[in-house]
């Protein structure tokens, strides 16, 4: 695969940035992606929905008292959830800086908070905005901001963590999943972290300590003692050895390798520590350096990249609600991970069923499979998805012969071609194929279909 296509996939969600990377050079490209003042405006549907737990609870009261129709409200809430998912996917696909969105999504999958559990759309928006605004600042700050977010407090039940009735959920996950990883802390550390978190409850824009619920005893974490609030504990966590490596390994897995080597984790973990956890220089160094690596076939393609790549390749008009639905089916329900561990990635992205569904989608788009379309429309009826139409168009740079067509498609789509594949491609598009014939486009699409269904296409 052409290195620019490879890097476009690594640094985004499709190969559409390949030319920009080629023309600007990697360093400049990464620089541009990382240096903008990138904001997340609040979408209208969030602005119009409930913004506080009180508003949400009063909505529930209205439903319970019969003032509002239960099913109608439930449908509206479901619709809102899908609107948010569509909003995120749209940003990923249409942003001028897809790398920013990919980084945001990484952190969302790290600091998991779900629509199902958090319920208040405004809190989810704030969660995403917080990530976006701190993804290039200091990582320590990001952790603190996220812990204080209403969404996280709700997701991990910290509103139920009170000095007389400790709930360890957030404390445990902070250590186990957000910062250090299993084996790098003790149960005592968890207990004391939870104590430090007691009383951290919902606020207007972000969480705040309720003085009557807060614990004021002396806590001891990692050998240090004091009447800590969570900010202090996080400072201490960041003094521990494993903190840079834990997050570095996850970053490597998200952007480059399902199985990063120990050496690589060490190398970049050290770098993160040297930068004192400043994310912008860290990301820049990581991307510029690792994108030089021409080795591909190291990462199983997640559903978002798969579908956005296909949409871009075939110039399909995206219906983002439809995409949200498909991604949910593919095991990547945006902002609704199955649990706080998030999407594990790697081999978890692909099962026989998921692979089969991807193939069916490709066939439906290229061959026009009426059965699939009908089944889809039936399932999507209640979600108000709107029109879904597939008009695939494949624009190639060099269509002068079967050979050039095959070369261009394989270098764009798959990381390696085996002898078998080369022969099968030659069978599929014989040397005496006439590119000027009336149905040439249809035929080239069939080659795309073959490649998109290959195992090689499921891997970056």
């Amino acid at each position: 695969m052409l290195i620019h296509n490879l890097n476009s996939l690594r640094l985004g969600f499709s190969t559409k940035q390949a030319d920009a990377i080629k023309n600007k050079g990697l360093a400049l490209f990464v620089d541009e992606q990382l240096n903008t003042n990138y904001k997340v405006e609040m979408p209208l549907f969030v602005a119009e929905g409930p913004k506080t737990l009180k508003e949400f609870q009063s909505l529930r009261k209205q439903v319970n008292s019969g003032e509002k129709d239960k099913e109608k409200v439930a449908n509206e809430m479901a619709k809102l959830r899908f609107e948010w998912k569509a909003f995120i996917i749209k940003r990923c696909n249409e942003s001028e800086f897809p790398l920013r969105e990919k980084i945001n999504l990484f952190f969302q999958n790290h600091f998991v908070s779900t629509l199902q559990s958090v319920k208040v759309p405004y809190w989810i928006y704030k969660h995403y905005e917080t990530i976006n605004n701190h993804a290039f600042g200091n990582y320590k700050t990001l952790v603190k901001e996220i812990v204080y977010s209403n969404a996280m407090i709700k997701y991990l039940d910290n509103q139920q963590n009170k000095k007389d009735n400790i709930n360890e959920n957030l404390g445990r996950e902070l250590l186990e999943l957000f910062t250090l990883g299993e084996g790098n802390y003790t149960e005592n550390d968890i207990k004391n972290t939870a104590l430090a978190l007691a009383g951290l409850n919902f606020g207007e824009e972000k969480g705040m300590y309720r003085p009557r619920l807060k614990d004021n005893s002396t806590k001891t974490v990692f050998g240090k003692s004091g009447n800590f609030i969570i900010d202090d504990v996080i400072d201490i966590i960041f003094e521990q050895k494993n903190t840079p490596y834990f997050i570095t390994e996850k970053i490597l897995k998200w952007f480059f390798y399902d199985n990063p080597t120990k050496e690589l984790v060490l190398k970049y973990g050290k770098l993160l520590k040297e930068y004192n956890f400043e994310l912008q220089p860290f990301f820049k160094a990581l991307f510029v350096e690792e994108c030089k690596n021409t080795t591909c076939g190291t990462q199983i393609k997640n559903p978002l990249i798969y579908f956005l790549q296909v949409h871009n390749d075939l110039e399909l008009a995206p219906n983002y609600t439809f995409l949200a639905f498909i991604l949910k089916n593919q095991g990547m329900d945006i902002y609704d991970q199955p649990n706080v561990k998030g999407w594990k990635g790697g081999k978890d992205w692909l099962t026989a069923q998921i692979y089969s569904d991807r193939n069916q989608f490709i066939e439906a788009v290229i061959d026009g499979n009426k059965k699939f379309e009908n089944r889809l429309n039936k399932q999507l009826e209640k979600f108000n998805v709107g029109e879904v139409a597939f008009n695939p168009k494949l624009t190639l740079q060099n269509t002068s012969s079967a050979k050039t067509i095959l070369e261009e498609l394989t270098s764009k789509m798959i990381f390696e071609t085996t002898e078998d594949m080369k022969n099968e491609l030659k069978d599929l598009l014989k040397y005496d194929f006439d590119p000027s014939s009336e149905n040439a486009n249809q035929i080239i699409l069939r080659v795309y279909k073959y490649l998109a269904k290959c195992p090689e296409f499921q891997i970056i």
């Binding site: 399902d258 199985n259 076939g297 190291t298 990462q299 199983i300 790697g346 081999k347 692909l350 099962t351 026989a352 069923q353 692979y355 089969s356 193939n359 069916q360 061959d367 026009g368 499979n369 009426k370 059965k371 078998d420 022969n423 099968e424 069978d427 599929l428 598009l429 014989k430 005496d432 194929f433 006439d434 014939s437 009336e438 149905n439 249809q442 069939r446 279909k449 073959y450 195992p455 090689e456 499921q458 891997i459």
Partner: protein, 389 residues
């Protein structure tokens, strides 16, 4: 018409139980799965343009030897003479099937305005289009869309790539290279290491299991009787063996398809053609014996064809792309006749044979007489050929 109605129709058309066809002996009635009663069509597509004149040979026509001083098959080597025509020696077993009365040959099959590009001519055969028209879906695909769109597996293509003939908009067509992984499991990861890349191995292992219809395939393979007839040791034979297993195992597919390459004999024709025809001969004969032994011969119709024949006059040690050629039909209660005139080597079109039978008439015959299906429904308007079945 859905499948249940279709079945009822065939049941009543056997004209009552007074005259039992010979395959429905009392013994066989009880040893069959119900699905054996369905007709099955199998297509073997010979890729490259099989030289018809050296396959079914006009050995009594002097022009044959005049045009092919180097590559003609010697008179004494031609076997099983029928009316001035005979078989290439490599086809000795197909010749014996012919002697048993189970092989029909439709001669001079082609179409108007022949195209000599592999790609385009194959397309024409596969979509049953006019030479200058372009159709999106396969002729069998269009047939299955009407007849079998509810089947879990309407058709099985055993090949490396999809075949345009089966391209469908609604029916379920399965393409697989083989079913080696299927019998034991439907999703067994880490079965064997294929490459140096663990991610790629993982995905490849999923590939077979991910095909739509694998559950039905798996069921059929498990039901198929264990007794293995001995098949020739070549890839085409293996493909036909899989088909036989699936048919015996009661898979509901009506159409099976496979292909074999190596027929584009521009050079070294004598050697290469003989080799390819031997492979074809051995594979088809193995399959024929198997099907016959299991009393399925009347239900299974095997059709062998190629996208074009080759030029009458040789060119060096081989031949150029040509036009018309013979189509071979085995099984399905065919009458065992040679249909059509012997190739006319005198009146040619630019050095090429002029077709006599449009391939779409053969298609129409297959559809009408094996499935009671009106070929006009899929825009095949040719008359059927009388005398095949």
């Amino acid at each position: 018409m859905d499948r249940r109605d279709f079945l009822k129709l065939t049941a009543t058309s056997t004209g009552g139980l007074l005259l039992l066809p010979n395959f429905l002996t009392a013994k066989n009635l009880f040893s069959f799965e119900e699905n054996y009663n369905d007709n099955v069509l199998i297509f073997i597509q010979l890729n490259g343009g099989n030289d018809g004149l050296n396959t079914f040979i006009p050995f009594e026509n002097a022009l044959y030897y005049e045009n092919r001083p180097k590559i003609a098959i010697a008179k004494q080597d031609v076997i099983n003479a029928i009316n001035g025509m005979g078989f290439h020696p490599a086809l000795k077993d197909l010749a014996s099937i012919s002697q048993e009365g189970n092989l029909s040959i439709v001669q001079n099959v082609g179409y108007p305005n022949p195209n000599r590009s592999h790609f385009r001519s194959q397309e024409i055969w596969q979509t049953a289009s006019d030479s200058k028209k372009y159709l999106d879906y396969g002729w069998l695909g269009r047939f299955l869309d009407i007849q079998c769109k509810d089947e879990a597996v309407a058709s099985v293509n055993i090949d490396n790539i999809d075949n345009l003939a089966l391209k469908t908009s609604a029916a379920n067509v399965l393409t697989a290279k083989n079913f080696n992984n299927v019998k034991q499991n439907v999703a067994n990861e880490n079965e064997f290491k294929l490459s140096e890349n663990p991610q790629l191995d993982f995905v490849r292992n999923l590939q077979n299991a991910s095909l739509q219809g694998m559950t039905e395939i798996s069921k059929a393979l498990q039901k198929a009787p264990n007794k293995r007839n001995s098949y020739a040791n070549n890839p085409l034979a293996k493909n036909l063996e899989w088909m036989s297993k699936l048919i015996k195992g009661g898979l509901n597919s009506k159409i099976y398809y496979t292909s074999m390459g190596g027929f584009d004999t521009h050079n070294n024709q004598l050697q290469i053609h003989e080799k390819q025809l031997s492979v074809l001969n051995d594979a088809v004969f193995s399959f024929y014996k198997d099907i016959k032994e299991n009393n399925l011969l009347s239900k299974v119709t095997l059709v062998i064809f190629s996208e074009f024949g080759r030029r009458v006059k040789e060119n060096g040690a081989g031949t150029d792309h040509g036009t018309a050629g013979p189509m071979l039909i085995i099984g399905g209660n065919n009458k065992g006749k040679i249909l059509g005139k012997n190739p006319n080597l005198e009146t040619l079109d630019n050095g090429d044979l002029i077709f006599e039978n449009d391939f779409r008439s053969v298609y129409a015959t297959l559809l009408k007489q094996k499935f009671n299906f009106d070929p006009k429904l899929i825009n095949i308007n040719n008359q059927t050929i009388k005398g095949i079945f």
